[in-house]
């Protein structure tokens, strides 16, 4: 009887080990996808959505002043419609890229970057604040137009940039510069051999 129980326990242990191994494999694959996702989100934010000049142009007050002074009412309405649409699209895209980055940070980043618990908590708070800010910003732009909350836009861009900095640190090992230094080390070791 005791032998039977031991055999069952041993079999269960083997099955559990197999399950853990299978999960590890799936994680590695999913991890690569998470890295690609995070890298793409970071690139979209840094190159397309956050540059100061792009944000300034989307929410440019001088364009509104010009249209108000130089165009009839129907053109002003057209301008406001267009800018509102683009401002909403900007907020939506920033939010969706943030969600991609958040997924990476909550799920994978601790495997790649040694963030301290304090940093992780701060990052989680930043994500929560930003996603909430994006919701509020969307409502404000939708109800009151693209010029409703210029300070909030500035503050949002500031926090997103901060998050991008942390994300970049987490993804730094993928950079070409690191790869180059790795190549340099390999070359040196080859020469040494």
């Amino acid at each position: 009887m005791i032998q039977l129980v031991l055999s069952i326990l041993f079999g269960a242990g083997l099955l559990f080990s197999l399950y853990v191994l299978a999960r590890k494999g799936a994680k590695a694959e999913g991890g690569a996808q998470a890295l690609i996702d995070a890298r793409q989100a970071l690139s979209a934010l840094k190159n397309d959505l956050l540059p100061q000049e792009v944000v300034a142009r989307i929410f440019a007050r001088d364009d509104l002043d010009y249209v108000l002074s130089a165009a009839p009412d129907d053109v002003v309405r057209l301008f406001m419609q267009q800018r509102k649409r683009i401002a909403l699209s900007w907020v939506d895209r920033v939010r969706s890229q943030l969600i991609r980055l958040k997924r990476f940070h909550l799920g994978r980043s601790r495997s790649y970057a040694h963030l301290r618990p304090k940093e992780e908590i701060a990052l989680t708070m930043d994500f929560a604040t930003l996603l909430f800010a994006c919701r509020v910003l969307r409502i404000l732009v939708f109800l009151r137009g693209p010029y409703a909350a210029p300070q909030m836009i500035g503050a949002t861009v500031g926090i997103v940039e901060k998050i991008c900095g942390v994300s970049e640190k987490s993804l730094a090992f993928l950079d070409a510069t690191n790869a180059a230094s790795f190549d340099g080390r390999s070359a040196g070791s080859v020469a040494g051999v």
Partner: protein, 182 residues
Amino acid sequence: MLPPLTAAQPAAWREYNEVSSGFESNQIGVRRASEEFRSRTLSKIPRLLDRLIYLASMRDYNTGLYYHDGLAAQFSADIACETLAACHRGVFRQLLLCPLQEIVDQLEGYIRSTSTTPADFISLWSGIEPYRVTVPVSTDPLAADLFFSNLKVALAIVEARQPSSPRVGAESDASPQPSPAR
């Protein structure tokens, strides 16, 4: 600068150096071709909008590749293509970041430089929106959208300045309610 190759180096390492040096010489070629193209051709075109339309016209619609016989003869077809693509991206970026007033000025200048009447031009551009093909490949959708939107509003402003003409873009898009901005 890459170190000279020696016979003692492994074949893969030599191959890597050859590829790298090919890439470097290509980059140098593109830089030289860009300088030449900017000074000889682009600088002669007065407005950014004209430059954008010119550069877009050098691109094959089907392949997205750029062709320029002069540059290809002097450098190579690949370098010519890369040079034109880089210039196209640069000009688009400059135009994207222009204030609306400047875009209106550029559009008016461009209309004056064509042989069509402003009314015909505005009707065509508002109708089939040919400016949509002037955007470089792989432009961010938001940037392209902002550019199209600016041109649409600029067209409406230019149209409003024409003596007694119906405003195509503005009337189709705007509701008759009073402006919240005023």
